[in-house]
Amino acid sequence: MTTLDTAPVAAPAAAPARAVRVWRTLRSSRAAVIGLSVVAVHVLIALLAPLLTTYDPIANSADEALLGPSRQHWAGTDQYGRDVLARVLYGGRYALGVSVTATLLTVALGTVIGCAAALRGGRFDDVLGRILDAVLSVPAILTLLVVVTALGTGPSVIVLAIAVVYVPQVVRVVRGAALAVVPQDYVTAARARGEGTWAILRREILPNITDVVCVEFAMRASWVVLLISSLSFLGFGADPPTPDWGLMVAENRTAITVVPMASLAPIIALATLVVGLNLAADGLSKAWGVDRIREGS
């Protein structure tokens, strides 16, 4: 009976050990730590925007238009007299909200389809591969514009458009990673037990490609942020007067000589977020790569 008693104690001990290992792996890569901190700061600012500024990001104020940086308006005001800093702070909400949703959807769809393609193989894989090739051969921005013009603007349409553009690429990457797992004997064992495709995917394959999926998430996120801002800049994304970085650049670029901060501030915000996401993706992939070698030896 003693052996049975000791076991439940070991079970909770194993979970923190895993968390500690993940944390140690992350910490070993400086790039990942910096990148993740930058992203975390962005998220915090977006969440706490109402506490950080007292200005309304939307309310116009004609007599305060086109002011330079001052004590009242740290980053000045734009042509409608709105505080630029407030709009940059609130702008993160839109950028992060839409991109996180779009990336989550894209990576989730891509992962499921990619794994299924690797697992099922055969005709399903062939047909899917050709369809994805067809989608990939159309330039991304063109697809986006077609979807947006056809279905109108709005966050849900943007999310859908992003998914159409990026799912094929995620499928490619995940399928490649899953293909290395599928021939393993534990997948064969699951097949011999007669498990369904979904159960094999969730229990046997997904836990072994989480590193690839996480890195894919971080990398896609940075591209999605850029793409959404480009759309807004072109006038297909957020509708005015929504505070959005891409839109702000588009609105204020004519006045760039008068109030340069009105254009520069959103650009700086956008750049730091993308750089942070890129660093995180880079660092994660390196950290996990190293982790893998360690486990192997």
Partner: protein, 572 residues
């Protein structure tokens, strides 16, 4: 005569987690010209590490903590880079375990050999390793050769620059018995011809007995015993050596050998299968196709409850295909495959649950058959839940613990990940997982091939215990005749997807009727330096089975597929 190789109290350690972990501890050995020294030990004994130091190679993160390695009088680890390069290949050459991985896939054989240096023409080298039509072979790519041919090419590369020392790291592991015999004969021939000193790393005592003049037994990086081969095999001094030797299954054991801690050997007689035992699985004229090629060609057999039927053959004989078909991973293209509770001719996902859980497969390689990200307890619980034998997670956990202790493991291991277990423990978990469905048919696909010899003995004993306790019908797939001899009640010898001989183990081993069976037995290596290959030389033969007259019956279920000597063909 001064030794060519001399290793003096060599110690090697690698750094892990900020401290030195010793892997080799004060190993001393010497090899003279024309002699062969074998380094024997189980995995993790440091035998490969010692062998690699002869080439001045250390694994990343390792360093020498003491002692020295001298080749022809020069200290290997004191040599400048240029000298070291000259040493490798020029003076010491290595033949690695897996020639398939050692050869560059995109380069023709001839160019690869030429790259190895030396002045001897490539065709001469290929002729020297006894490969047919060397000129044509030199233009081929590695993947166009068989495993045995690849290993011969690797040997040709090793001797290209006429080295003085040959390091052989498990040179025949992974090759079929017949191929292995050929490669070993080649190595010993070349050694005598070129007067090489050889260091052989092996876990296979049969290979060692066949090839080595002296043997050094390593355990956890320390020398346990060192003696001339004949002395060591006849009168092993150390208990560990005795146990190691005793663990090797022999062709003349009449049952499974149980080995004690000090190496005493007791052969347990085989379990008697009652005459009225019900047939668990019955196969009739089963054929399996891979595309247009036929892997299994009309195989028939019965396995009764409590009986072990061994399928023996070389790679490509179709024995694993047959196992996978039985497990529902392939669909037979012809014939019938029937279990007492249903038809097995369908793939696993289309078998009813009640049938699926009763036929279970244990994989050859336990390292890859367990999901590295899931605890071993989870691996055992999953089939319990899937087959609906438990109703609550708590019950599943309890049953999993019971199963883990049934395979003689500590149930506390349930929370470990597979990587935290040893190879033998992982294979036991593989068996526990198969037992979770309460099967009456267990298919064991080469389950001991990847294990060390003492672990192999334990796993075999476990399998034998389990079939007695649970009355399992067991299909035991193996290429190792000595293992089969100990555990199987009946044997079926497969060649190119056809059964050439089948019958009770005793009868088949006492009087093998088919030349192919005799060839397999002759190629099996006994751990005895004085062992002579049994039986006469096998000459050519041809299949002589007629559709309505397949077998020659030898009585008591022992039958041999009809054949005739090939020499008689054409000259009556």
């Amino acid at each position: 005569m001064t030794p060519i190789v001399s290793v003096n109290s060599l110690s090697v350690a690698y750094r892990s987690g900020g401290r030195d972990v010793p892997v080799v501890h004060e190993v001393t050995l010497e090899v003279a010209k024309g002699r062969t020294l074998a380094l024997v030990g189980e995995s993790g004994s440091g035998k490969s590490t010692v062998a690699a130091t002869l080439l001045g190679h250390l694994r990343h993160g390792s360093r020498i903590t003491g002692g020295s390695v001298h080749i022809k009088g020069s200290d290997v680890f004191a040599l400048p880079a240029r000298e070291l390069r000259r040493l490798r290949g020029g003076m010491v050459a290595m033949v690695a375990q897996n020639a398939g991985h050692a050869l560059t896939p995109s380069m023709r054989i001839g160019r690869q050999i030429a790259e190895a240096g030396g002045d001897i023409p490539v065709t001469d080298l290929l002729e020297q390793v006894r490969l047919p039509r060397p000129a044509e072979l030199a233009r081929r790519y590695p993947h166009e050769l068989s495993g045995g041919q690849q290993q011969r090419v690797a040997i040709a590369m090793a001797i290209a620059a006429r080295p003085d020392v040959l390091v052989l790291d498990e040179p025949t592991t992974g090759l079929d018995v017949v191929t292995q015999r050929g490669v070993l004969d080649l190595i010993s021939g070349l050694r005598d011809e070129l007067g090489l000193a050889a260091v052989l790393v092996s876990h296979d005592l049969g290979v060692v007995a066949h090839l080595a003049d002296e043997v050094t037994v390593l355990r956890s990086g320390r020398i346990v015993e060192s003696a001339p081969t004949r002395t060591l095999f006849a009168t092993p001094q150390d208990p560990y050596t005795r146990k190691l030797l005793a663990s090797v299954p022999r062709l003349d054991d009449a049952g499974l050998a149980l080995v004690g801690e000090a190496g005493e050997r007791e052969v347990r007689p085989r379990a008697q299968v009652p005459a009225n035992a019900p047939v668990a699985v019955s196969a009739r004229d089963v054929t399996v196709d891979y595309g247009s090629s036929r892997a299994v060609h009309g195989v028939s057999f019965d396995v009764r409850r409590g009986e072990v039927l061994a399928l023996v053959g070389e790679s490509g004989s179709g024995k694993s295909t047959l196992a996978w078909t039985l497990a529902g991973l392939r669909t037979p293209s012809g014939g019938t495959l029937i279990h007492e509770s249903g038809d097995l001719a369908r793939p696993a996902e289309r078998r009813p649950l009640s049938l699926r859980c009763r036929v279970q497969l244990v994989f050859q390689n336990a390292d890859t058959s367990l999901n590295p990200r899931r605890s071993v307890g989870d691996a055992v619980r999953r089939p319990l839940q899937l087959f609906g034998t438990v109703t609550s997670p708590a019950e599943a956990a309890g049953r999993a613990r019971k199963l883990i202790s049934d395979v003689r493991l500590d149930p506390a291991l349930a929370d470990r990940l597979p990587a935290q277990l040893s190879g033998g423990q992982r294979q036991r978990i593989g068996i526990a997982r198969a037992l979770a469905g309460e099967p009456d048919v267990l298919i064991a696909d080469e389950i001991t091939t990847a294990l060390d010899v003492s672990v192999q003995a334990e796993v075999l004993r476990l399998l034998d215990d389990l079939r007695r306790e649970r009355d399992l019908a067991c299909l035991f797939i193996s290429h190792d005749l000595a293992v089969v001899r100990g555990i199987a009640d009946r044997v079926a010898v497969l060649r190119h997807g056809v059964v050439v001989e089948e019958g009770p183990t005793e009868a088949v081993f006492a009087s093998p009727g088919h030349p192919y069976t005799r060839q397999l037995m002759a190629a099996a290596l006994e751990p005895d330096p004085d062992a002579l290959p049994p039986g006469d030389d096998v000459t050519g033969w041809a299949d002589a089975a007629e559709p309505d007259d397949l077998w020659t019956n030898h009585g008591n279920g022992h039958r041999v597929r009809r054949w005739r000597p090939a020499l008689l063909e054409g000259n009556p």
